[in-house]
Structures are given as C-alpha cells and as structure tokens.
Amino acid sequence: MVASLTRRFGDLDIAEEAAAEAFATAVGRWPADGVPPNPGAWLTTTANRKAIDRIRRENKRGDKQKEAQMLSGDDPPGPLGAIEDERLRLIFTCCHPALAMETRVALTLRMVGGLIMPEIARAFLVRETTVGQRITRAKAKIKAARIPYRVPSAEDLPGRVSGVLAVLFLVFNEGYLATGPDTDPVRHDLTAEAIRLTRLIRALMPEDGEVAGLLALMLLTEARRTARVSASGELVTLVEQDRGAWDAALVAEGHRLVRERLAARMAPGRYQILAAISAVHTSARDVRATDWSQVVALYDQLVHLDPSPVIALNRAIAVAELDGPEVALAAVDRLEHTLAGYHAYHAARADLLRRLGRSQKSRAAYDKAIELAGNTAETAYLIRRRDQLG
C-alpha cells in the first residue's frame, strides 16, 4: 500500500504517514464498527484521503494542478500483478546507486520490508538515531535530486539489478547469522523477507543467472535453518547438523535452480558459484559423502571472480578435507595480515591446529575467535570447542 501511495503522491514520507494513520484508524474503528466488506479498498481510500489532507495542509505552491490530478486519478485495487509491480518500483528506488549501501539497506528494510526502526538498528548494530537519520536524509535526497520512482528500463535493468541483489544478500546474511549479544542468532523474519524479495526480482528477470543464483543460495541456506541452532542455543556446524532436519522442498528447489544455471552454459557469477557449492554440500546425505574435490574446484572458480581474503579462507577450509590440515593451515596463515580482525579466521585456525594436535595454539586461537565473534550461537559453539581441548 505504501508503494502505490508513493506512486500516486511521489513522496515516501507522506505515503508512510498516511498508511500508518489509515491502519491506526482501522484499529480504532473496526472492532466497534465491524470490518468493512473490502478492507483493502477501505484502507487504500482512507490513506489516500489522509495523504491529500496532509498535502493540502502543507499548502504546496504551484501544485493545485497536481492535486487535481491526484484526486481524479483512480487506482482501483488491481490484480496481484499490479501490487507486485509497485513493490518492484519501491525496491529499485530504495536500492538506487546514488544512495550509499547502508542507506539502501535501511531504506529497503523500512519501506519494503516494513521493519520498524529498532529492528533495523538491532540488525546492523547501529544506533536507532543513526538509522533514523539515514532514512530521513535518503527520503530528502530522493525528493530533492528527483530519484525516479520506477523499475529501470530494459536496457538499464542489468546494470541496476546487481545493486539490489547486494542489498538482499546483506539482509539475508544478517538474518542467517544475526549480530549482537542480545539478538536471536537466526532471524527468520529477515531471511524470509530477503527470499520473498529475491523471488520478486526473479519474476521480473527470469533469465538472469545471478538472480537465480542468489535465490538458490538463499533457499539452500534457509533449508538448513532449523538444524543450525541447537536447543541450547548453540551453533551447529554443517559437519554436525542433523541432515534429516533440513527442509527437503527448499533443498529440491535450490538444486533445480542450480541445475538450470548449469544447463544455461553461461559463465557463472559469484552467487551462482556459491549456490553450486551449497548444492554440493546439500547433495551429500552424510557429511562424509561430501564431494570435497568439487567444492574446492568451485572455490577455484570463485577465487578468480572474487579475490577477497574471505573467499580464500573458505577455500582453505575445504582444502583441509582434500589435502589435510597442515596444507590448509599454511594457506590460512597467509591471510593473517588481512583477516586478523575476523573471528572466522581465528576459528578456522583453531580448528586446524586442534586437528594437528597443537592444543595450546588452538586454545589461543579459540580465545581470539570468541573475543571477536558477534553471534550468540556461534560464541557458544566456539566456547564449547575450546573447552573440549581440555
């Protein structure tokens, strides 16, 4: 509803306020008056009226004609297609390249995902006032610089979609491995929202490989959600997860998407490769049946595309299964200068040192990892592993 109001009134602030007021009125009136026969239409009409009232109150100069247009234009509640279209417009606007990444994420979560400020602040470990400022400034910029409210044209779409995917991936990752000592370690509302929005983009661009790849990656990761945190709130690694608890339907859909991309015979982008790695892991009925040479081969491809040290770290962890922990440790140690502040680097070292029987060094590495880790379930897991060293 916010999306269609934004389209009509071209102002995110007015749209949001009007929608909130309409809901508030409904909550106040419907228990007494009864729910109207078409609640959606009632809300839309009420919100439209409230938005018009506000515009009149603000007395915008030279907008008399615009106002007349808004009053006469009617937008009857359209079929599902029209609503999804509105949401796409909103996503592309919120993810516009003229907005900084953290701004895009905050704006998308607020305007498209409907999260409230405290939730967004908690998700990304920033102060609520910071989130508020970012969103206020973004809305002001959208208005002042006239960032258009539309789905990009066919020729611009490929260039714009990668920005959207980056935002959705960030949102998903935050939901999957939530930061913060007081946060639930896995936030289903965020992962579900990220998947929902990625599906929407896929409906818009069914041929795009990276969109399919990101969706597959999310589904294959989400499939493991319930197996990922134990009853005592501890992270359960892939090696230890009860594979029977995985969501078979999500795994099947993820695999189907990965196969579809393989069949397309096009050079895969990074999401497609990450999805393929996930597919190899989720194809094994048992961790011992994992095709590690496939995993390493896929990481070799990924390293070409993305020479980031985190990818190199993940590749080294896979290499340990093929070539043993000594070789892997040498590769991991080479990343020290870039990853010294990253908890997963120390966790990987700790595990490899443990396997090599170097308990003292392993313990020190676990200590460092625990100090740096931000996720409650992960911290619990690392403490257990460290204490198991004896």
């Binding site: 100069r61 030279g62 516009h96 390249p97 003229a98 002042a144 610089a145 006239r146 960032i147 258009p148 990009p152 611009d156």
Partner: protein, 109 residues
C-alpha cells in the same frame, strides 16, 4: 529540472586539446537533445577573489575560498527530468572532460 554538474580537478592541469574536442562533441549533443542550459570553464583558482561583506567593511581576499587539492575547474547546468537522466549525462560528461564530476540538484521553488 536543473542540475549543476561541476568538474573536479585534482592536478594543476587544465583541459588538453583532445579533452576540449571531446567536450565540444558532448556539448553539441547536449544542445541538440535539449539538455543544455549553460556551461563554462573556470580555470585555475588563483584568479579567484573572495569578498566578505557581512561585517562593517567589505573584506577582500586574493585566492579561492578554500585551499584544497581538489577544486572546481568548470561546470554545466543541465536540464533533465530526473536523476537517472542527469547521471547518464554526467557520466558522459565525466568521460568527455576526463575528470570526476559532482551532480547537484538545484533547489526548486
């Protein structure tokens, strides 16, 4: 809607003949497509003068208001319906003049 597209220079060099030729071609296109409002080169900041007349007497200072490594060496004022169009034009402007450009919307009444 009008946008100020400022050209940012970070060396002492002004436009080369090749760059000037590219800018001319770009300007022709801007005019032909109705985006041109105004454009001009400013050159080095050493020819600038600052006046502060907020107090009792007008104070005149030789030089730019800000001494910095990066400074504005020229600008366009372009007409465009929205930021997407403005950014596309500005991208071509940046390529033509071979420098970073800053796009700012003018305030509307």
């Amino acid at each position: 809607m009008q946008y100020l597209v400022s050209v940012i220079n970070d060396t002492a060099d002004l436009a080369t003949p090749d760059e000037m030729a590219a800018i001319d071609v770009f300007n022709d296109r801007l005019m032909a497509e109705g985006h041109w409002v105004f454009a001009g080169g400013l050159g080095s900041t050493s020819s600038a003068t600052v006046i502060d007349n907020r107090g009792g007497e007008a104070m005149i200072t030789d030089g730019p208001f800000l001494e910095s490594k990066e400074y504005i060496v020229g600008f366009w004022i372009m007409e465009a319906p929205d930021l997407d169009v403005a950014l596309k034009l500005a991208a071509e402007a940046s390529r033509a003049c071979n420098r970073k450009v800053e796009v700012r919307p003018f305030l509307r009444a």
